[in-house]
Amino acid sequence: MSFRYNLKIDSGADIKIKGQAALECTEMPPSETYTIKPGNFFYLNSKLLLKEGDQVKKGTPLFFDKGNPEVRFVSPISGTIKSIIRGERRRVLDVIVQRDEKQNALSFNVPNINKGSRQEIVDYLLKSGLWPYITQRPYGIIANPNQTPKAIYVSFVDTRPLGVNHQFIIQDKFKEFQLGIQALSKLADKVYIGLSSDYQGKLKSIEGPIFYSVSGPHPSGNLSVHINRIDPLNAGELIWTINPEDVANVGKSFLTGEFSAERTIAVAGNVVHSPKYFKVTIGHELLPLLKEANVKMDQINRYINGDVLSGEFVDYEDHIGYLNNLISVIPEGDQYRMFGWLPFHDNAVLSISRTSFNWLQRGSKPIEVNTNLNGEERALVVTGEMEKVFPMDIYPLQLIKACMVEDIEKMEALGIFEVVPEDFGLIDFSNTSKLEAQEIIKSGLELMIKEVG
């Protein structure tokens, strides 16, 4: 069977960083505590259901989304709520659950995946705590269960720096994945599955979804790019997206009747001696993984939940994020470089600009990176560089400027519905003025949600 769509992306840049995760997976013993962070979800306004000291089972709701009270976030394990950490204006940051040995789990009545109605499937996903796996476009927020999207997208293509191999992650969860797709097919008319153009495997034997292939440099793996090329999002329309492993989590839950929070996570980066995958449960402690991956801990590193372009800072004593399959670890910068601004000087520093000979090395072997800003923020001067790493029919600079001046009408007209902050990751990385594009788009999206909804 061939692909329905073949997406060939030509603008962008692959950033190959040392320490790509090897295709081996270690099953980790459970950690002492597990943490669920409302902050892992964009624009989530959470309301707690329990207090410190309460007993929870796997599947017990911990908090819910104030905007959509049916959307509940459940405990991934059984235990006791050890502490609740709040930030500014009493916003909940962490719900920390101390694991116990009982392994009690709530069980739910599983609807028939073939005969069940759409509403029955939706109700099950909400009740069992699986719903937060589904993200909605526009805005990149948790899907609204009362709406129907025009399509659901699942992509196996990950072109991010140190990106993960989704085929490897679900290789022994094929049955669960298939079941998950079956369930999702009930929620939308179309389910799209994106694979790399050289994909050889049994996924394509699944009946129902529409398969498309993707080739080209990063950000060709970003779902926004796929949606923009296949069937762009129009005003008033919705698209849902879900990670491959979470499709398998949904499928598994239909088999067991319990919440499934399996997470295969890669620890990678140029200070990781044995970068590889770990099989854990969502909310797992980070430190045991770092030790197991032999991260060089005697220096100051940056630990990132996600990739180096758009991931979030995390402390090494903290926990893994909810949806991400990748922990990136790179050294902090903090070096001065004498006359480092000279063109073709310091060519070892990562650069996709032709003012450095870094491209000579970059093509052949993975490179070491750090967190130096490599300059200072300046007025916007250079033009045309953003378009080189933004393969969508959208004018990125103009959209960024519209967000800066908070001109909602212009933001809509220029395509704010079709983007999420991660699409601007490479622009953050490569723009000469060191403009914080992702932050600007993020506040633009927040403004949109507030004003337009």
Binding site: I15, P161, N234, G236, E237, R302, L309, S310, G311, I330, G333, Y336, R337, M338, F339, G340, W341, L342, P343, L350, S351, S353, R354, T355, S356, N358, N370, T371, N372, L373, N374, G375, E376, R378, A379, L380, V381, V382, T383, G384, E385, E387, D393, I394, Y395, Q398, A413, L414, G415, L426, D428, F429, S430, N431, T432, S433, K434, E436, Q438, E439
Partner: protein, 386 residues
């Protein structure tokens, strides 16, 4: 050595910061500091890793691209002077003569321009932007060699204050500051900027020396040009300091295009627009400027220099990809149009670029608007279908 220097600078900055009176001068010290060292600042939000490229590196790349034209201009200044006097002097001496004339102009340009830039940075409390490194070199390079230094200074001040800072500083200006300086001098001091007594060093004081630019002769409807196309291409002709050599401009263009700092679309667009318009006029052929072969139009006067270094200024040019094509082609068209139809201003490229600077935002507006229209049409279609 490196460490000692670092230590000293950190000490000075600490002292400045701790003093209420002097704190506002931190941007000025930072400008020097970041010139020596790329700072150790790390990413606080957004992407965790960043490209090695920054504004300083970009601007210095342009300066490097300008160097061949500058060095040739210095030599040519001497060459024009001595060849008219009939003196035989060595290459080094020829160059040295030009250097002696041009270096003070550059020094004045940087001194005046950077003083104003630092002043605005301290006053507004922002870092010193690097843009003036390029403008400051471009301004003297586009002037006739005999222009008094004070005029260079006044032109620079006008350009930086009126064309740049009045609009909000680097990145906000509508007009290219370097061309604004030249245009200011051109209209404020016309006797120093045109005619046959300004293009060769000492032409106004020594009777044996005179020299009209090729475009000046043509504008006077004098079609007897003594120079070969090779002279025009290499640049051994009278003219503004660095504009004469198409060859050196091409070397600069190569550097700008290879590094991606200058837009090849704008340069090629100018070439297409200029060649096409020149060709049309060749076919009409009424006066000397019209019959002047179109390919020679592209290698005389400031065309090559202006196209490579001025039209490509990203701030004042069109910003969208399609817009850059349109902008470039129109610069080429207007350059030849102005040359042919307005003999009072034989140098059309300066005015053509300034004119298109004004229209660049309008071009971008329509390009972006086409994208918006396309999107809204798609929305309507989707709504109609269900």
């Amino acid at each position: 050595m490196k460490k000692l220097l670092r230590h000293r600078i950190d000490g000075i900055k600490r002292d400045l910061r701790s003093s209420d009176k002097l704190r506002k001068f931190v941007p000025a010290i930072n400008a020097f500091d970041t010139f020596l060292f790329v700072p150790n600042v790390t990413t606080k939000s957004g992407a965790h890793i960043r490209d090695a490229v920054d504004t300083k590196r970009t601007m210095i790349t342009v300066v490097i691209a300008l160097v061949p034209a500058l060095l040739f201009g210095m030599w040519n200044t001497g060459y024009q002077h001595f060849s008219q006097l009939g003196e035989q002097v060595s290459v080094l001496e020829t160059f040295w003569f030009g250097f002696g004339r041009i270096f003070p102009m550059i020094a004045v340009s940087y001194a005046v321009g950077l003083t104003i830039e630092f002043g605005f940075a301290v006053y507004r409390g922002h870092e010193v932007n690097e843009g003036y490194l390029v403008s400051g070199l471009l301004i003297p390079m586009t002037m006739p060699v005999d222009i008094p230094l004070w005029m260079v200074g006044v032109s620079v001040a006008f350009a930086v204050i009126i064309a740049k800072e009045a609009f909000g500083g680097t990145g906000m200006n509508i007009l290219n500051p370097a061309l604004t300086a030249r245009a200011f001098a051109f209209f404020a001091y016309p006797t120093y900027m045109s005619g046959d007594k300004v293009w060769v060093a000492d032409a106004s004081t020594i009777d044996a020396i005179s020299g009209e630019t090729i475009l000046g002769s043509l504008a006077a409807n004098n079609a007897n040009i003594d120079y070969t196309w090779w002279d025009m291409f290499v640049g051994t002709i009278p003219g503004s300091i660095a504009e004469t050599s198409t060859l050196m401009a091409l070397i600069g263009a190569f550097i700008l295009i290879f590094t991606g700092v200058g837009s090849w679309r704008i340069m090629l667009g100018c070439l297409i627009g200029g060649a096409f318009t020149g060709l049309v006029f060749n076919l009409l052929g009424v006066n000397a400027l019209m019959t002047f072969p179109f390919y020679l139009h592209l290698i005389v006067g400031g065309f090559a220099f202006g196209v490579v270094f001025m039209a490509t200024d990203p701030v004042s040019a069109a910003q969208t990809t399609k817009g850059k094509w349109i902008y470039g082609i129109l610069v080429g068209v207007f350059c030849i149009l102005i040359r042919v139809f307005n003999p009072a201003y034989p140098e059309g490229v300066m005015l053509a670029i300034l004119l298109m600077n004004v229209f660049a935002p309008t071009i971008d507006h329509y390009v972006v608007h086409a994208n918006i229209k396309k999107r809204k049409k798609r929305w309507q279609l989707a709504k109609a279908n269900g």
